[in-house]
């Protein structure tokens, strides 16, 4: 299987689907000649032409609104929001219109659109270009929030998102763009709403998303040498959340830690924890259930402070040790 990057995996999915389905088209800022702020749509203008790779003005509300209109008329638009932070500008369109139309019209219409957006810190892009807002999007029924952590998942979930009948927020991570992994060249989909156990283990369940999956895997490898076996669950889709996989895992391990980069307060870790303690897994919980989120501060520009603001491997290790060692 060829090894390609997370970024290339997403491009490959878009490329292949645009070849397969002529209703699929891209729109966003600087996605044509420039190839997108991160180069994800590089070469696509030449391949598919300006009709299907459409440059837009700098107005996220317009981008999403246009996508909604096109999808209602039978197209399958893919909107790019240059930085996830800017999704807030289009939130009325996304949350009040796209998410609700299918229901408002009694299921007689669908809104098949994908809104791609890279989130996350680590690139020195400061407070307004580094947020992880996936928890915000999870509060709107009617949206789906997809959040892959590996190139393989990115391609399979993108293809599934492109074929979904209703709006999908496809949350990418800037720092993951360069990470590589094996990705099949052909067509495959990963079902939306299905978590994956990235690593089985008996001592503690750690639920983590995007870049935190990698960090936790590194920690788990280290702790395994000491006999601590960490089970890592990547939800892959945050809305709808695959609570069954998580609950089953906690029933086996008796311990739960949720790690995300998003600010801790109001973050989706609380959602996971509430789902677990309110489920039959409650009777199997053998230690406090804990979360490790980003600090409740705007992401600083200063490199050292930027690192400090979000969970690092040492923080994750410390939390796992405390829970497994029974010191909290």
């Amino acid at each position: 299987m060829p090894e390609i990057s997370y970024l290339e995996a997403i491009r490959q999915a878009l490329w292949q689907e645009m070849k397969r389905d002529e209703r699929v088209f891209l729109l966003g800022e600087d996605i044509g000649r420039y190839g997108g702020a991160f180069g994800l749509t590089h070469g696509m203008l030449d391949e598919f032409g300006p009709e299907r790779v459409r440059e837009t003005p700098i107005s996220e509300a317009t981008i999403v609104a246009t996508a909604i209109g096109a999808s209602l008329l039978g197209m399958r638009p893919v909107a790019e929001i240059m930085f996830m932070d800017f999704i807030l500008l289009s939130l009325d369109q996304l949350a009040n219109q796209a998410a609700k139309m299918h229901f408002m019209f009694g299921g007689r219409t669908t809104v098949p659109m994908v809104v791609r957006m890279p989130g996350g810190s680590g690139s020195g892009a400061a407070s307004q270009h580094s947020q992880s807002l996936e928890s915000v999007l999870m509060h709107f029924p009617g949206l789906k929030v997809v959040n892959p952590s590996t190139p393989y998942d990115a391609k399979g979930l993108m293809l599934a998102s492109l074929r979904d009948p209703n709006p999908v927020c496809f949350v990418e991570h800037k720092i993951l763009y360069k990470t590589k992994g094996e990705v099949p060249e052909g067509d495959y989909t990963i079902p939306i709403g299905v978590a994956e156990i990235k690593r089985p283990g008996r001592d503690i369940t750690v639920v983590a998303n995007n870049i935190m999956v990698m960090k936790t895997l590194n920690v788990a490898q280290k702790l395994s040498k000491e006999g601590i076996e960490v089970e890592i669950i990547d939800p892959r889709t945050l809305l709808p959340l695959d609570t069954k996989t998580i609950i089953d895992s906690v029933k086996r391990t008796g311990r739960l830690l949720v790690v995300h980069e998003a600010c801790q307060t109001g973050g989706w870790a609380g959602e996971v924890i509430a789902s677990v303690v309110g489920s039959p897994a409650f009777d199997y919980v053998d230690a406090p259930v804990r979360r490790l989120g980003g600090k409740d501060i705007p992401i600083p520009y200063n490199r050292g402070l930027e690192i400090f603001a979000i969970p690092q491997e040492t923080d994750i290790e410390q939390e796992i040790r405390a829970l497994v060692g029974g010191t909290v």
Binding site: Y284, D286, A287
Partner: protein
Amino acid sequence: MPVPFIMPKFDMDQEKATIISWSKKEGDFVKFDESVLTVETEKVAIDVPAPASGTLAGIRFKDGDVVPVTKVIAYILKEGETFADLPKADLLPAPSKPEITPVSQPVPVPQTASVNATPIAIRMAKEEGVNLSKVPASGDRVTREDVERFIANQKTIGRVTVPATPSARRVARESGIALEMVAGSGPRGRVQSADVLATVKSVPSPAVTNEREAEVIPLTSIRRTIAERMQQSFQESPHIALTVDVDMTEAENARKRFNLQAEKMGQPRITITALIIKVVAWALVRNPYINASFHGDSILLWKDVNIGVATAVPQGLVVPILKCVDHLGIGEINLHLIELADKARDNKLRLEDVQGGTFTISNLGMFGIRQFRAVINPPESAILAVGSVVRRPIVVDDQDRVEVRPMLSLTLSADHRVIDGIVAARFLADLVAGLESPAMLLY
């Protein structure tokens, strides 16, 4: 903030200690470092000093309770602090005698005529399912207000009396164990599922105790330690045992001369044990493999000769250690021995008195035991069992001349992983030489 008074950890591998007695009581003023209670570890009894000066408050454990190390056992209130400053959870009764108040399902209780209450209070109690005899009266009879206050109080009493994880609660429920019976190993005494499982295992199945009658003696920590260590020793180290007979004529003569000297110096009489220890120390220096420990992939030959003397105490057996015996004269050995035996009898041995032994002597001679085999005291590699000195006829020369001599049997139990038969035999031969002609020690 009141100073928490925790059960200290005296020894590296110590997990818990038993409270023998509190010498101070709730509300007493204690000075920093002053002894407040006595606890028993697996090895010795130790006085625990106060961590600060102030008023002793919030004692959570009583005499006889087994307490994990680092657990808060009480608090010291500093000047100006009152009981109200104590952390709330610690004011609850100690877990050994929990009070569980069922609040969810009040069961209608027949009212006893003896309760003096107003008619309205009686009617209200009946309606609310309150046992009137439990309701404290503010005046000479129970009033409606009293019943109302009682009901309000009932509603605020917490349902949870023992901190436990949900998993521990489930395991306890499934195995029919009361959580109050389980010692929690988690932070602040939280019961975890493993704690419940351990309790399930330790509770004897009723079938066994029901079939035959027996007085049940719970293991004291000292008994448990003896049991564990002796079993470990017998299972892990292949024991060999060698016995020799010693003619104690010269040793007895030497002891008489030593006693004359001791008398002159106003010292106690030299015991036969002291004499044997002296000779054993001398022989151990000449036979380093007897003064050794098996240590995984190596053998440690100890530089010091620290001889333990198995000593019976009411609770069982302790082995106080005489340190660096090879550098001591017999008078000093004798004095140390008496001192340690006194301490052992009075339960005053400190940890350093029982640690670091390299060889043990067990003497049952005073009970008329001629000869016996002892179990090695790990991590040591050998133990000498000393029998009684018996006057009996033996052949004393190659002319088959028979004389009555004071004879002693010595049996060495040795760990064959460290000590081969011939090595043990050489050590015993040295012992015989040293005891049969004590002047050899000068050689």
